[in-house]
């Protein structure tokens, strides 16, 4: 019978703060500001910022990851509740980010020879640095967002975990892109994309295990 259960649940009733989307937005924006400030303080703005501003790299590179971050947070808020579902409109930031990246890949393919791209990709000095900063920053951010995810009840816990990883990685990449002066689109796709994807996969494994309810 449920009566004793109802008595128990009623006795256990306490004020619980509702899950509010704006709190996640505020928290994530504060994280972005703090991480960007930390990057600028400890690593500094890229040395060639004037020419990067002129070429547009100072905008499109962080812009791609900022769009991915916005898109992933929108999708997270979509599916954090039991009746939640992905809104197609919220995929738009990802589509814009992909369009910008493809546009850069196409534009650079015209004037950067294949050999140069190969040597940039095999550059052992900066690639591990980029990978580790984005990966490390992302892992720290995923931990910081535990407050939100422990309260969710998603119909898609694996996807929610994946998006948590992607959003954390995209946020770290946005901030780190202010420092990094590697503007070749292939390099950005590989050495920024891989850690973000890795964080997404890690998030999906954790989500499947810990976000079930």
């Amino acid at each position: 019978m449920t009566d004793p259960l109802i008595d128990k649940l009623v006795a256990d009733l306490s004020l619980k703060k509702p899950l509010l989307n704006w709190k996640l937005w505020m928290h994530c924006t504060a994280c972005l500001v703090m991480v960007a400030a930390a990057v600028l303080m400890f690593m500094g703005l890229r040395g060639d910022y004037l020419s990067a501003m002129h070429s547009g790299a100072l905008f499109w590179k962080p812009g791609i990851f900022l769009l991915a971050w916005i898109g992933s947070i929108l999708l997270i808020t979509d599916i954090s509740r039991p009746a939640g579902a992905v809104k197609k409109l919220h995929l738009a930031p990802f589509i814009f980010a992909s369009a910008v990246l493809i546009w850069q890949l196409a534009a650079q393919a015209a004037h950067i020879p294949l050999e140069s791209v190969k040597s940039i990709l095999q550059d052992g000095s900066s690639a591990p640095y980029c990978l580790s900063v984005i990966l490390g920053g992302g892992v720290a951010l995923v931990m910081a967002w535990k407050f939100w995810f422990s309260k969710t009840a998603s119909p898609h816990p694996t996807l929610l975990g994946f998006l948590a990883g992607v959003s954390a990685g995209a946020l770290a990449a946005t901030a780190y892109a202010l420092h990094c002066d590697r503007d070749v689109a292939v390099y950005v796709s590989v050495y920024y994309g891989l850690p973000i994807l890795g964080l997404g996969l890690l998030g999906s494994v954790l989500g499947k295990k810990f976000l079930r309810w």
């Binding site: 009623v10 256990d12 309810w213």
Partner: protein
């Protein structure tokens, strides 16, 4: 629910008491009657634990329906895993009630898969025929029978997952 979220115990008691028959009717259409009470209690506990996910600016009906649906899908997943484990390890179960519930639930899902696979699962799981008996009756080899049953079970699992995505 809005009052309950603010800590109103009387409103919360009224809500849970009113929900009980609704949930019993909801699960009554989907699962064996012996499992209904467990699932109703499970859903009420989930409601309690996850009440912060209810957004007061939206209606309560779709929210509780989604919670109940989630609990039902979880139950069906466990049932299918239980049935498949029994097949793979070939040990007889001592839990009569659980067997009965699982058979009932599997029967409702059989309508979702191809008739040939459904027939095999029906014979092995519900009529408790051996793989050899089914093999002789249908003309398929024993390993083929096992494969078809396994694929059918996987399809039923996929149907449950699909129900979750809808």
């Amino acid at each position: 629910m809005r009052a309950a979220l603010k800590g109103d115990q009387n409103a919360y008691r009224l809500l849970l008491t009113d929900l009980r028959p609704w949930l019993a009717a909801y699960f009554g259409k989907r699962i064996h009657r012996n499992a209904i009470e467990d699932l109703v209690q499970d859903t009420l506990m989930t409601l309690h634990a996850k009440r912060q996910t209810f957004d007061p600016s939206y209606p309560f009906g779709p929210w509780i329906a989604a919670v109940a649906r989630h609990r039902w899908i979880d139950h069906m997943r466990k049932t299918l895993r239980y049935v498949e484990l029994e097949l793979d390890q070939e040990f007889p179960s001592q839990e009569h009630d659980r067997d009965e519930c699982a058979k009932h639930d599997v029967k409702t899902l059989l309508k979702l898969i191809p008739p040939a696979q459904a027939e095999m699962i029906e014979m092995i799981k519900l009529q408790e025929m051996s793989v050899e008996e089914v093999s002789q009756k249908t003309g398929h080899s024993p390993s083929n029978v096992k494969i078809m049953v396994h694929r059918g079970m996987k399809k039923m699992m996929a149907a449950v997952e699909e129900a979750q995505d809808d």
